[in-house]
Amino acid sequence: MSATPDTPSAHPAPPAGTTPAESAAPGATRRDVLRRAAAAGLLVTPVAGLLGACATGGGDSGGTEQATGEKTAQNPLGVKEDAALEVVIFNGGYGDRYATDVHQKLYQAAFPKAKIIHQSTQAVSTVLQPRFASGNPPEFVNNSGEKFLDFGALVADGQLQDLTDLWEAPSVDDPNKKVRDTVMPGVVEQGMFNTPDGQRKPYVLYYVSTVYGIWYSGKLFRENGWTAPTTWEQFTALCEQIKSKGITPFGYAGANAAYYMWNVILSQAAKVGGPEILRNIDNLEPDAWKADAVIQAARAWAEIGKHFSDKSFEGLKHTDVQLRQNQYKLAFYPSGDWLENEQKKDTPPGFEYQIMPMPSLTAADKLPHGAIRAAAGEGYFVSAKSKNPRGGMEYMRQMLSKAGARGFTETVGAATVVPAASEGYQFPPGVASSQAALRAAGQNVFNMMFDNWYKELDTEARTATNELMFGRASAEEWAERIQRRADAIKNDSSIAKFTR
């Protein structure tokens, strides 16, 4: 869940085939030179083809022997105790030390005879696509980062292990409690996908608890006697005050992180119109983006963009804008609670990240002020066609134990979906405040999934949101164009659909 922009590798522009001397030599035939140049031009062409060359080969080897062992109280999933387990971890914001130092040690302790093969990568799909295509996938995959494997495609191809057995199994710490009861509500559902035959099954474990909101510096606000606004009137009044101090009141980075902003607008819409507004959007319902609540929220935030932001932010990257907040030049910044960890190096001492929910837009808002977007992030799955899927599920069970989740939190400083593991842990101020906000929200927690399910809709929403926030489109035009894309996706039979 970090805002990594698309940064494809470069490839050289001018076709260097001929030296100047050669082409200028009086007798050298020009047509030869031109032919060569034309040939060089052809070389620049299809990018996808090269990739396809290695990726479509092979096929299902079909009958992979799958290891099973006897089910016991210690081994409720029936893992074969000496079966090897291959673990692939995305080496991104969280690194891979939490896997090698915590989870794999726990698994090894439970199954001393098992051999664990650890691999970490920054490009999951590049490394794993050929393995899935050739029918030899690793057992356990942390499918994350810029190049993650398309979940829909994996589900459609039957590559993901049904995790029902895991969720129904007794937990590591308390045999009387199922694993599903040790995690936060909604986590199992979030990892559910529709299968091609119309069922819904849990396929993905989302492990990291993520809270979204608007962030500000506790120090800056204390020194100026400002308090986090709860209503729209307070919010705009405070923005006025902040502006008069020469500080930019609100901003996000348009160059690569526009999704932080559609997240704000949709969270606002959910508060105005209730969480079903977001469910309709996720389910590609007709006119879901044109709902009153959504338009109202978009209009309100477009006004903030117009009066209280900085036009130059459209050309800046998320790290640039975040740095500005650290320099006390920007008051409010929307993000998730990975922000504090991401900015660790640039945050001045005493800055004290604090989160606030979206201010209530109207007195008639369906959700109370404390309602907040919280979700589980960072997806993990077990390959159904691997040699040891039971081992993969057991690895997840260990991750979800108190020791496993606590170890993760201590290693990377983020909360997991296992609440019992975070109890009493001294989080840094930002995560502490987001955890407190999550507790305060109680049942009023909402989430959205469409960007994970339909990448194209995410792209369209980002582009449209920049147009809206930097004054080139109205709220109605914004909703209209995203709705058009949502309808196109709905009518496109090649895209696997999901509902919640």
């Binding site: 940064t7 001018p14 052809l42 690569n256 582009t463």
Partner: protein, 302 residues
């Protein structure tokens, strides 16, 4: 020698032909095949015939990218060649004649090296450099100066009317050095007597440039045109690294390679991306064929 001819020829050809087949021909064939399928990157591709191409016809973003290639195809060669010719002329002939020898303006050796610098840098580095140059706030190279002078900053990459031209400016900046060298070499091979004769006839520098240099450089100019035309069909790296929102704002700077990348690696629509690749292939080959056809006419011999 005569009997050993074929083994000898085959011995030399086998390796390059094999390499070419494996790394060039076969990916091409596969791209063509994939463009007729629907493939999400995992599992087996599904044959859908010309479905992807039908979709291309009504894809706004695709046509936007094609239009941008049109602009690039006109602007990039014209501007680059114009500037490079001017520089090359000044560096080689523009200084007048000294001891019967045409020379460039003072310090031309130095300029020659400086102009070639951008060619030495990797494209990605150039893009990152220009991020700094174009930055929209006071820490940008250009806008920093503008703000200091009390002027409004210019939003090079944000203003949709300016963004593509800002990208073209970078492409030109990067290309000019190479063509200065190319044209200099061409000019060096023009016999000095012709310039002397022209000078004796009282031709000014401008006349000399248009009546002597350009006609005798025609061959080289055509080569430059083809090269730059091909570069105009690429532009991927600069757009990908430099532009806002990968080809934005709202697709104002996108090019086909950017859309191929996005469809393949962001949307996992490998079949559709391949169809775009095939379209790009035909665009490039059409351009190359047209240029060869047009340039068939004879040039001035000397």
């Amino acid at each position: 020698m005569r009997q050993g001819k074929y083994p000898f020829v085959i011995g030399f050809l086998a390796v390059p032909v094999t390499l070419y087949t494996v790394f060039v021909v076969s990916p091409y064939l596969q791209a063509f095949w994939l463009s007729m399928t629907e493939w999400r990157g995992i599992g087996a591709p599904r044959w859908i015939g010309f479905g992807n191409f039908e979709r291309l016809l009504s894809d706004e973003v695709f046509w936007k990218a094609v239009r941008h290639h049109g602009v690039l195809l006109l602007a990039l060669p014209l501007i680059t060649i114009a500037i490079a010719l001017f520089f090359a002329f000044m560096l080689n002939v523009g200084g007048g004649s000294r001891g019967g020898q045409r020379v460039g303006v003072r310090g031309s050796g130095f300029y020659r090296v400086v102009f070639f610098f951008p060619q030495v840098l990797a494209v990605a580095i150039i893009a990152v450099l220009f991020q700094m140059v174009y930055r929209p706030d006071e820490s940008g190279l250009i806008n920093g100066i503008l703000v200091k002078l009390g002027l409004e900053p210019v939003f090079f990459l944000i203003n949709p009317n300016l963004a593509l031209w800002s990208i073209i400016a970078v492409l030109v900046w990067q290309a000019v050095g190479f063509y200065v060298v190319l044209f200099s070499a061409g000019m060096a091979s023009i016999p000095t007597e012709i310039y002397e004769a022209a000078e004796l006839d009282g031709a000014s520098r401008v006349t000399m440039f248009f009546r002597v240099t350009i006609p005798l450089l025609w061959d080289t100019l055509q080569v430059a045109w083809v090269y730059l035309g091909i570069a105009a069909f690429d532009a991927f790296a600069i757009v990908a690294v430099l532009s806002v929102d990968s080809g934005g704002p709202d697709g104002a700077t996108t090019v086909l390679a950017m859309e191929i990348y996005r469809n393949a690696f962001v949307y996992s629509r490998y079949g559709y991306a391949s169809a775009m690749g095939v379209a790009l292939f035909f665009l490039t080959i059409t351009f190359a064929a047209l240029t060869l056809r047009v340039s068939r006419r004879e040039s001035v011999e000397y």
